[in-house]
């Protein structure tokens, strides 16, 4: 329909994609001016520059969230199921009362969900809770707050 060669269109599309992803990645802190200055160098018409700017502003957030998915990642937490078990007997020993908490930890890794079955005893459970609560508390400490505030 446009009567231009396939190659030209491909290059055009690739160029646009590069422009948008690089801009979104760097997220120029003063979006309007920086973006405009950068594309001005390319020597397009003012109208084209305006459309490009609009395109960038409209899609910036979505592009950033997609790029965010590409970063190296460890499996991330999805959810946890738990249940209480009491072991009453085994082949080797009768008449036991052994309490345990059995858990299923659901993790996400690159769009796959894995589930791992784990177990722990009551004492370790309380220890885990104490340690992780301490971890949560760290975010509220002054040190972390200062860093978060100053690095924006």
């Amino acid at each position: 329909k446009l009567n231009i060669g396939v190659d030209t269109i491909q290059h055009g599309v690739e160029g646009l994609v590069y422009l948008l992803t690089e801009s979104s990645k760097l997220m120029a802190s003063i979006p309007f001016l920086d973006f405009q200055d950068s594309i001005h160098v390319l020597g397009f018409s003012d109208e084209l520059n305006k459309s490009l700017l609009q395109l960038y502003l409209d899609n910036r957030k979505e592009i950033r969230s997609i790029l965010g998915e590409l970063a190296p990642r460890l499996p991330s937490y999805h959810s946890l199921e738990w249940r209480l078990d009491v072991q009453l007997a085994t082949r080797s020993l009768r008449q036991q009362i052994k309490t345990a908490v059995t858990m299923k930890l659901h993790l996400n890794q690159n769009e796959d969900q894995t589930a791992q079955v784990l177990q722990t005893d009551p004492a370790t459970l309380l220890h885990l809770i104490q340690q992780l609560e301490q971890a949560l508390g760290e975010m509220k400490m002054n040190h972390c707050r200062r860093i978060v505030r100053n690095m924006k």
Partner: protein
């Protein structure tokens, strides 16, 4: 036992039989959590004299707890969590995206296999909200445990 100087005069085959018999007896007693009177009665039926029965029972009594712990630890179970470590980090940028500014936690659960083969620890990352969810669920489990023990 085969190297013990006190026992060198006895035929090794007989020695082995005795050892096996004693071991079986002790393990069965341990498994069933038998009390002293039950063991004595059993040994009387086997025509052992009083002195020997008393010696056996005393030794058994001394080691009973250790035996129970040993027997209790045999068996399969899911990976057992022994400890947890965590790390709080604040991401500034990565090669796909600059200025990310995101705090995240890295949690590692140290696990142990009942077969004492080592197993890699379970690690995962999570946001503050996700960690709060996890801790909330663990606290629910702990509360249920408390309620169950009070019943």
């Amino acid at each position: 036992i085969l190297d013990d100087p006190d026992l060198k005069d006895i035929d090794p085959a007989v020695l082995k039989h005795c050892h096996a018999a004693a071991a079986t007896c002790i393990l069965e007693a341990g498994k069933q959590k038998a009390d002293i009177s039950a063991i004595s009665t059993c040994l009387e039926d086997c025509k052992l004299d009083k002195e020997r029965i008393e010696q056996f029972c005393t030794e058994y009594q001394k080691n009973k707890d250790a035996l129970e712990i040993l027997l209790g630890s045999i068996g399969r179970s899911p990976l057992h969590i022994t400890d947890v470590s965590w790390r709080l980090e604040y991401q500034i940028k990565n090669n796909q995206l600059h200025k990310t500014y995101q705090p995240s936690y890295l949690v590692t659960l140290n696990v142990e296999n009942s077969d004492s083969g080592s197993h890699p620890d379970v690690s995962f990352s999570c946001t503050m909200e996700q960690l709060q969810d996890l801790v909330g669920k663990l606290k629910d489990a702990a509360k249920s445990l408390e309620r169950a023990t009070q019943m």
